[in-house]
């Protein structure tokens, strides 16, 4: 379809026919991972000069960068809130981040992701400390390979800490997919495309404990029991990511301390 005039909800979300590809071979996933194994993750805090906080993050082949600006003045003024900060979250994909060049600018998918991501952070950021201010979270997907929204949330959390924004907990995000009838953690592109379901979660973690769900979406087909199992699997994965987020933050501060000595 040429799709010149309609913005079409595909192909990002549509499940392709599962008979086209076998995703689990000998109890292992295509990239050799176990069902409950995360992709390799690399996190670096404070990678940008201009932003107040920033983070570069790789999650498998995903490469994303997050920046936080604020608290700062809100323009135009009528968008200010008298008793709390206004949070903005902008998820954006670079045109070259996907197989077929993406036209620059927001599409319907990125508008939706930006909305649910912002809603995940809103109850966690201590907005009431910064009346009339704005806190802007910008995430750029430089390379996409399934799970970009979770990668971006993980990066944004580190950037927020790097910017010194006070929060009630850290947001950590990971998806669970159903492929070839089994649940797998942190699906990559092939599992997302040919799998039966995809469930991105984001959790609030405080004092090393998962407290609540900040984001959950789902598309595909799962039984109620599978969905409950998926949540457990996601929680385990999230704890591992949480530790890597903490490490990245600490590494940044150690570097600063060393520098300052």
């Amino acid at each position: 379809m040429k799709g010149d005039e309609f913005e079409v909800d595909k192909p990002e979300e549509e499940k392709l026919r599962k008979d086209e590809i076998q995703l689990i071979i000998d109890g292992k996933r295509l990239d050799g991972r176990d069902f409950n194994e995360l992709r390799p993750i690399k996190i670096e805090a404070g990678v940008l000069k201009r932003a107040d906080g920033s983070c570069y993050l790789e999650m498998g082949r995903n490469k994303v960068v997050a920046a936080v600006y604020g608290p700062r003045e809100v323009h135009p003024r009528h968008l200010q809130e008298p008793s709390k900060a206004v949070i903005r979250y902008r998820y954006n994909m670079a045109p070259f981040s996907v197989e077929e060049r993406k036209r620059p600018g927001p599409d319907r998918r990125s508008v939706e992701i930006s909305k649910v991501s912002r809603e995940a952070y809103e109850p966690v950021i201590m907005k009431e400390l910064f009346p009339r201010s704005g806190i802007d979270i910008f995430v750029e997907v430089l390379q996409a390979d399934a799970g970009t929204r979770t990668a971006c949330l993980n990066a944004a959390t580190v950037a927020l800490v790097d910017a010194g924004i006070p929060m009630r907990g850290l947001i950590t995000s990971v998806a669970v997919a159903k492929v070839d009838g089994v649940l797998v953690l942190d699906p990559m592109k092939e599992e997302d495309n040919y799998g039966e379901a995809d469930v991105p979660f984001a959790f609030v973690i405080r004092n090393g404990k998962i407290e609540s769900i900040a984001l959950v979406q789902m598309d595909g087909k799962m039984t109620v029991e599978e969905m409950k199992k998926a949540l457990e699997m996601a929680k385990e994965g999230a704890m591992k990511i949480y530790n890597l987020q903490r490490e990245a933050i600490m590494k940044k501060y150690e570097a600063i301390e060393i520098e300052e000595e």
Partner: protein, 259 residues
């Protein structure tokens, strides 16, 4: 200003009733408003349905035309779902290009239809890789008294059930009924403290946009889910919501059997 004060009063009222386990319109916490479904009301459309969910009214029209398939699924029809929150339907809607609310609405409805494989898209291929049927699902809100999502999703599947593929008009053989094989139903709840209200009205939403939509299919599979709103959800609540949503969807699905 007056509007805000009114909202605060409503909010207090909703919360005080809720402390007694009651809702302001007398419904049980998991009770859905009365539903009316009227199909085939727009004869210019290939299918249509007007759903009244309490005082919320949504009209969905289905238009179909031949088009090119996506390269990676060359033998399947294409679904395009669009929602227009026209200013007629609510004092808070404004004319203009779709905002995040209407985009989210369209996408949540779309996912329910798509992921339940409600329409057998493989039967909508005219010529592999060249020409397939495109299904335009247009959601037209008329009166927003709360929970547009469930009303829209119900109107969408009702309209699809009522759709005839206009093959003759495009000289592609005989008309035939759109092959619908699953019946996704979306159930939205409002999370308030440790309780939740199924199918919230607009007045109930004065306590905040703390919603979750869970769509399940005829086999009680979950096919779409969307937490919507700035709030945190406990695991316990999440589990309860899934169970209730699947159960209530079953109730609503009964209504679709008469179409």
């Amino acid at each position: 200003m007056g509007e805000e004060i009114l909202m605060d009063i409503k909010k207090d009222y909703v919360l005080s009733k809720l402390r007694d386990g009651e809702r302001i319109d007398g419904r049980k916490l998991d009770e859905i408003r009365s539903i009316e479904i009227e199909t085939n009301i727009i004869s210019k459309a290939e299918g249509s349905a007007l759903v009244k969910l309490g005082d919320t009214q949504v009209l969905v029209g289905i238009k179909m035309q031949p088009g090119e398939p996506f390269p990676d699924v060359p033998d399947r029809g294409v679904i395009i779902t669009n929602a227009e929150l026209v200013p007629l339907a609510s004092p808070t809607f404004e004319a203009g290009p779709p905002d995040e609310t209407s985009i989210e609405l369209a996408r949540v409805v779309d996912r329910g239809i798509r992921e339940s494989e409600a329409v057998d898209l493989t039967k909508l291929c005219v010529e592999e890789g060249e020409k397939v049927w495109m299904i335009f699902i247009d959601i037209h809100a008329l009166d927003d008294d709360g929970n547009l999502v469930d009303a829209s999703a119900l109107a969408a599947i009702s309209a699809l059930l009522n759709t005839t593929v206009p093959a003759e008009r495009f000289e592609l053989g005989d008309d035939f009924p759109l092959p619908v094989r699953n019946l996704p139903v979306a159930i939205t709840s409002l999370v308030v403290g440790d309780k939740f209200l199924v199918d919230p009205t607009r007045d109930e939403m004065s306590v905040g946009q703390r919603l979750i939509t869970i769509t399940s299919d005829k086999d009680d599979n979950i096919v779409a889910m969307q937490k919507s709103g700035s709030y945190l959800l406990s695991e316990q609540k999440f589990y309860e919501l899934i169970d209730v949503s699947v159960e209530k969807a079953r109730e609503v699905r009964e209504l679709l059997k008469d179409i």
